[in-house]
């Protein structure tokens, strides 16, 4: 199993590479009036795509504007359409690791407010926690506005 590793603050996380559609560099963002400036829109191939700053969400500060800070593009967990995407902004998105299922250990704690936290593996620098990106909306990102049912296809009557 291949995992993409990243950091939010000092904490190291990993996401299964099979869930990742693309890793983008940090782009220009249009902020959305959301709690703590966690959410913004960016233009991905002509479509407005929502991005969640994982650092702002979990550390209370926006991600550093560094070269290693990137947007991990995944399928939107609450999306009705499969082409509905969500960007996760994280720091030091620089590495992939190959793991066996036996390398992953249950952390032994299951926090109700963090259902997105999955098993843990250890490397030379310490523990890395895998996250389930599809459960972010149940945990730290639960205050995010849910995606419109089909925002790309809605006729937008009063704008027409």
């Amino acid at each position: 199993m291949l995992f993409l590793t990243f950091k939010t603050g000092q904490q190291r996380y990993a996401i299964s590479a099979s869930r990742v559609i693309e890793v983008l560099p940090l782009l220009q963002m249009t902020p959305v009036p959301a709690p703590q400036g966690t959410v913004a829109y960016f233009n991905y191939k002509g479509r407005p795509t929502i991005a969640v700053d994982l650092c702002a969400l979990t550390c209370g500060r926006p991600a550093h504007a560094h070269l290693g800070t990137r947007i991990i593009l995944v399928k939107h967990p609450a999306a009705p359409a499969p082409d509905h995407l969500l960007g996760l902004i994280a720091e030091q998105v620089t590495d992939v690791v190959r793991l066996k299922s036996t390398d992953l250990a249950d952390p032994g704690v299951h926090l109700q407010e963090a259902p997105h936290l999955g098993p843990v593996f250890m490397d030379e620098e310490g523990a890395v926690q895998c996250i389930y990106e599809d459960r972010l909306l149940l945990g730290p990102a639960r205050r995010l506005p849910p995606p419109a049912a089909d925002y790309t296809r809605r006729p937008f009557g009063h704008f027409a």
Binding site: P25, L27, Q28, K45, G46, Q92, T94, E124
Partner: protein
């Protein structure tokens, strides 16, 4: 020093790597220096060392330059150009000075050039002889003679190290075709094949389905069925 613990230091190098890398040991004791680093015994090159890769990752902790976000935003804002999928694939090779192409699916193997043993009573036709391909004797045929390709360059000027044997299996019979150079596999659209020029001589034109451009050359994409049925006929006539 960050995070280094002196009490447990089985390998000082690894301990140093826990914090930020402030050394350029690869230039001093590593492969770019005097190669005295003991770690080299097990990892053989600095690029396999965590200190080196960590120093590389540190380059990504730099601030973005002013235009970085704008440039990438412009790049990703563009709609993805959906290229039509290539529906043809050909191996491009050279005989004498002519670049030719045959469909990839008839190829089984491309090997280095081997000695070709001529057969008795084998004149200057398309049959060159037999070659030993990993224990199997295969008939070698000269595609250039079938296509009437003139030897434009004297044989000794052809760079021998580029010569290859193409093992093809067009219709159940494995054949070996010696060629002077192989460019590789090229994918293309069948409708992008350019028509053969009218000035091409007739024998050449009946073997050529069209021209495809690759490697700044124009390669003649041959009609495999016509080429190999004619090759088989000229072999049986003997």
């Amino acid at each position: 020093m960050n995070g280094g613990s002196q009490s447990l230091a089985p390998s000082a190098a690894i301990e140093r790597s826990v914090g930020n890398v402030s050394t350029d040991c690869w230039n001093k004791s590593g492969v770019y220096g005097d190669r005295t680093c003991p770690e080299l015994q097990s990892i053989s090159h600095c690029r396999n060392c965590r200190i080196y890769s960590r120093a590389g990752v540190q380059l990504l902790s730099r601030e973005l330059w002013p235009d970085y976000r704008r440039e990438w935003t412009e790049h990703f804002a563009r709609e993805k150009e959906a290229a039509a999928r290539a529906n043809g694939s050909a191996v491009i090779f050279r005989i004498q000075s002519d670049w030719l192409a045959l469909p990839t699916h008839i190829f089984q193997e491309i090997t280095e050039h081997r000695p070709i043993h001529s057969l008795p009573h084998c004149g200057p036709g398309v049959l060159l002889g037999i070659a030993n391909i990993r224990g199997e004797l295969l008939i070698c045929v000269a595609l250039g003679r079938l296509l009437n390709l003139a030897p434009a360059v004297p044989a000794q000027q052809i760079r021998a190290e580029y010569r290859r044997l193409l093992i093809v299996n067009p219709a159940g019979d494995r054949l070996a075709l010696p060629v002077d150079e192989v460019h590789g596999v090229c994918r293309f659209h069948l409708q992008d094949l350019k028509a053969a020029p009218a000035t091409l001589n007739r024998s050449h034109r009946c073997y050529t389905a069209g021209f495809l451009s690759a490697n700044s050359h124009s390669a003649a994409f041959l009609k495999a069925d016509v080429v190999f049925s004619d090759l088989a006929r000229s072999l049986h006539e003997r």
